[in-house]
């Protein structure tokens, strides 16, 4: 199944489960419907039993006549017990089916999203809301609707018997109960709104609790001794939120129990209405008793069930609204394609007056940026943090397309390339490179995903050698087949520096002609960074490389250095040229060199 872009409504709480797990959904539904009908039958059977028993006691009936109705009672009880366990199983099946189909469909949709939605805090929040355990949300929504139906059937059944016996009684009861329940439903929405408001307060107090107990803050917390003060602040916020919640809950309980009291009153009303027919003999004592019993049983069910259902319906309306919005988010073709089979030729890359701001923000990150790169040379971007260096790489990678100006790859607009061609064109190691918790081999082979299953061990070992990681990997229990991280039971942890080298190896094995290193070494000291960059450049001989750094030592060797500031190229040239220019680059370089003279 697929998540289509359209409006989602309550009907989808039924439709989607039916699509994802038809058999289980039908069984769950059927079982719920039967569970709604059984109480009505039970009323009739019990009535029959009591009447027969009374008849026997009064001597008008034979004792043996009771057994058929006793048997019917036993059968009904047995039925509801057995189906209880089976209903559990069908529900599990439903959950599994939803997980397999619906959750996977949601995942597919996420993978197709335009990259901007991932970086934009608002859409990201939306995505998080919709996709956290989507199968459970849908399953419980489905169950809610089904159990509401069952509840209506149950009430309807009892009303039906009433109508059959004394039709006007049913009318009296209906005319009393409908307005009362409408009231209960209305106040349900109000309390849902209120509880949403306290959520923010709660988040604030929870944040303070994190400061007070987390591992990250322990050094400052201990040294600065701020626990007492922050603790008071936390308690204050906690209490504020709690008091508001207290009020909300008070209303909720009152409403809930008002529902119970109303149902109790209606039950008494039923009894009063039925008393006369019993005395005149138009209603049997047995039916009277079992009806009264059923009515009073409804009290508990209605009081809790109704309030909960109303609250939940409000929640699902929000969920469906979110789902509609999520399904409507723009997609990008790039999401699910692999790099093109043969690596294309790289000749030139040119930015012409490129300006760019992130969607949803006002500030231009790049302003009329222009530069040109040619195959086989080594380039470097330097500049202070926030000058837009990383943004440039995102544009080259095609992650954002809403720039103005032109980006030309081999003289052709980057927009005209198919995503698979772009993917085959370049490899990037980002500062926040991914640490995949899979085997060492797969981690590296991902660099050329087209032949991921056709890699020979020696190729991987060669890459490991090139980044100086072979010895460390040999020490792992299963060599290059050792799973990394804590996901697999025999997974091994490696250090941050080793992860960096894994990421480098992944880039090396990538056949793309253009390689970009975007400060994956920020955590290293400047010397290790410089050495690593130098090594990488040596390995990348014949390819085109772009190094990005805020530290100058490592970029010195580039054929051409671009100094980026406020979204533009401020200076460009070789190290010698830039030093001779005596501008910003020279100033930055001197400031670092001054420590060593």
């Amino acid at each position: 199944m697929q998540i289509e872009a359209r409006r989602y409504g309550f009907a989808d709480l039924i439709r989607l489960p039916l699509q994802a797990a038809p058999a289980a959904a039908v069984l769950v539904g059927l079982n719920a419907v039967l569970a709604g009908i059984v109480p009505t039958i039970q009323v009739l059977v019990t009535a029959d039993f009591i009447d027969t028993a009374l008849g026997i006691l009064q001597g008008s009936l034979e004792r043996s006549q009771i057994y058929s109705s006793l048997f019917a009672i036993i059968l009904l009880i047995a039925y509801s017990w057995v189906t209880g366990a089976l209903a559990n199983l069908t529900n599990v099946k439903l959950n599994l089916g939803l997980e397999k189909n619906y959750q996977t469909a949601v995942m597919d949709k996420r993978a197709r999203l335009q990259y901007q939605h991932i970086e934009n805090p608002e859409t990201w929040d939306l995505i998080q809301r919709v996709t956290s355990q989507p199968e459970a949300q849908l399953a419980s929504g489905y169950n809610l609707l089904i159990s509401l139906t069952a509840g209506i059937l149950r009430i309807g059944g009892i009303l039906g018997i009433l109508i059959a016996e004394v039709w006007w009684a049913a009318l009296v009861i209906l005319s009393f109960s409908i307005p009362l329940f409408a009231l209960a439903v209305k106040s349900g929405r109000a309390s849902y709104q209120a509880s949403k408001e306290t959520a923010k307060l709660r988040r604030k107090s929870n944040y303070l609790a994190t400061i007070l107990t987390s591992r990250e803050t322990v050094d400052e917390r201990t040294l600065f001794g701020y626990s007492d003060y922050i603790n008071e602040l936390w308690h204050e916020r906690y209490e504020t939120a709690r008091k508001i919640e207290h009020q909300v809950q008070k209303k909720w309980f009152i409403r809930t129990k008002a529902g119970g009291v109303i149902t109790a009153l209606i039950s008494v009303l039923i009894v009063l209405v039925l008393l006369n027919p019993v005395f005149t003999g138009s209603l049997s004592v047995g039916l009277f008793m079992s009806l009264v019993g059923a009515a009073f049983n409804l009290v508990q069910m209605m009081s809790w069930g109704l309030s909960r259902s109303v609250d939940q319906l409000a929640r699902y309306r929000e969920y469906l609204k979110d789902l509609t919005e999520f399904a409507g988010l723009d997609e990008s073709e790039s999401g699910q394609v692999m790099p093109a089979g043969t690596a294309p030729q790289f000749r030139t890359l040119e930015f012409r007056n490129v300006s760019f701001k992130y969607p949803g923000t006002e500030k231009y990150v790049l302003r009329n940026l222009s530069f040109r790169m040619e195959a086989g040379r080594h380039y470097a971007f330097v500049g202070v943090n926030g000058s837009g260096k990383t943004t440039i790489t995102k544009l080259i990678a095609g992650l954002y397309e809403n720039f103005t100006g032109e980006i030309l790859l081999n003289g052709r607009s980057i927009r005209s390339y198919h995503p698979s061609e772009l993917k085959a064109m370049l490899s990037i190691v980002y500062q926040d490179f991914a640490k995949y918790y899979i085997s060492v081999k797969d981690n590296i082979a991902l660099g050329a995903v087209n032949r991921i299953n056709r890699y020979e061990d020696w190729e991987i070992t060669q890459a490991l050698n090139q980044v100086g990681l072979a010895a460390a990997v040999n020490k792992l229990p299963q060599g290059i087949n050792t799973p990394l991280g804590k996901i697999k039971p025999d997974g091994q942890d490696i250090s941050g520096g080793e992860w960096q080298r894994i990421a480098m190896a992944r880039a090396i094995i990538n056949p793309a002609p253009l390689r970009i290193l975007d400060e994956p070494t920020a955590a290293l000291d400047p010397i290790s960074e410089s050495e690593l960059y130098q090594e990488f450049e040596r390995i990348s001989c014949g390819k085109t490389t772009i190094f990005i750094s805020h530290r100058l030592g490592s970029t010195k060797l580039a054929d051409e250095i671009f100094v980026i500031g406020s979204g533009r190229v401020l200076e460009q040239g070789t190290h010698q040229e830039l030093m001779a220019l005596n501008g910003i680059y020279a100033q930055m370089y001197e400031s670092q060199r001054s420590w060593y003279s």
Partner: protein, 575 residues
Amino acid sequence: MVLASCPLYFIAVCVIGVIHGFSWGLNTYATQLFFDSVASAVSTKSGLTMVYISLAVLGTVTIGSQVLNGVHNFMVNSLSNRMPGHLGKYIHQKAARVEPVLYESPDLLDDINKAQQGAINSLVLLVVIVSLFTFYLPYFAFMAWYLYRLKPVLVISLVFIFIPVMITQLIRGAVHARLEDESAPLRREVDYYLRCICDREYFKETRLLGAYRFFKELYLTALKAMHQKKWTVELKTNLLELGMKMLTLAGYFGVLYLLFAALMNGEISIGSFAAVFASIELMFNIMEEIISSHIGRLTQNLGTVRNFIRFLDLPERSGSMERVSFTDGIKFTNVCFSYPGAEKNAVEQINLTIKPGETIAIVGENGAGKSTLVKLLMGLYLPTEGTVEIGGVDSRELSLNSVYQGITGVFQKYQRYQLTLKENVEISDLKAQDQARLSAAAAKADLELCPETFPQGFETMLSREFDGVDLSGGQWQRVALARGFYRVHDLIVLDEPTAAIDPLEETRIYEKFAELSQDKTAVIVTHRLGSAKIADRIVVMDQGRIVEVGTHEQLIQERGKYAQMYQAQAQWYVS
């Protein structure tokens, strides 16, 4: 603890609980009276008043027990909301006194993380126990009395109900927990592969690599394995439950037969029969509620309660001496230190004296033990062997209040508090909130309060999540520096806080720092050897040991580790 925090409320909850329990039993009794009165009225065609009276009683009892049900549940609920406030405060106080080094121990970290949950669960435990005694016990006691009065043998029915339900639930709990443990690793795998495709951490790279299909396949394989496992688990437990239910059902029928026989023999009235018949189901449900949801959850949560108790037992700083002055500086004598659970010492055989007013630089490669040494000299960690004397007193003997007095620092991983700018700076010394000092600290850290970045000045909230602003890395850096300067200090420690900033900025910070720490004792940790030159003495560390100490000139002349590292770095800047 609960009693101490709100005793009256707690007692009220108990009392209401008892009444609530009785009211449910009473309900059955009222139903019987009503049915009997109707039956007799119908057969004798008289006694209508009795019918109305008993209907009124039944109505009142039902409504009464509904109201009690609401009040009782509400009070329990409100009590359980009130308690985390008290418990949380207590936990935070304890967390403040726990030895910082314990946060480095994976085992204890688990206790600390789960303490909060454990505290809440121990509360749940209490609520369950209390309601067992104040609500469920009175209800069953009433029912037992009622049934006994009807016909003594009916009391057995309670046992019939109790035992099979209990056995079922206990077995189910055990089997389910065991099988759940087996499928948990598979679940982690599925979730992880999902993250590899969708999570922010991986999204960009997975997309650029074109690795979507690779991970989807892993995901589908793991999902399939997990579903198989889960289905077997559920099938087993549910079939088991079904079997046990059959047993219970037999018990049910036994009770039904007893009732039926008693009815036929005229020992109980038709009204009692109908009333008891209606209440049997209720009793089953309540019993199942007690055992499966209360006791079942309880056993599941017992683990975290243990975490909580262990957390309360974690060792605290026990020293009692007050440090009076800092004039004696800091003295390390044969100090060794190892992290909990680690086999190797992180620092070894450290002997070092830092005189007041001195500026010390600590240099060395990643993992040489620089940060550990700094934490020892601030008193955050206590040595495993040897002594660290701060102001002439052994850091082990110092009381928690005085050990950090006069010491401030900017850590490598300084915190970005989602609080206001003012709070972010003043958090280093919240007792003395001082506007003049706040402005001074901001100025020292070159923190410009331009309205573009800080629209509400010092009151600007530094968190997008809480409707404030986002700062850049460099701005946060300055906030952290201002925080360090704000605290009144004799000793300031700067632990490599410059990793993420550009060279111009870095140079500025070190110069600023040198200038500001002229009359203070200062310790800088740095990987940039050039910047160590501003120090009076340089301490060179390698593999946990101090290998060289001296001024820049001395160390260069010695041609040791320092000179070697210096040359390696300098070559990048010599044209």
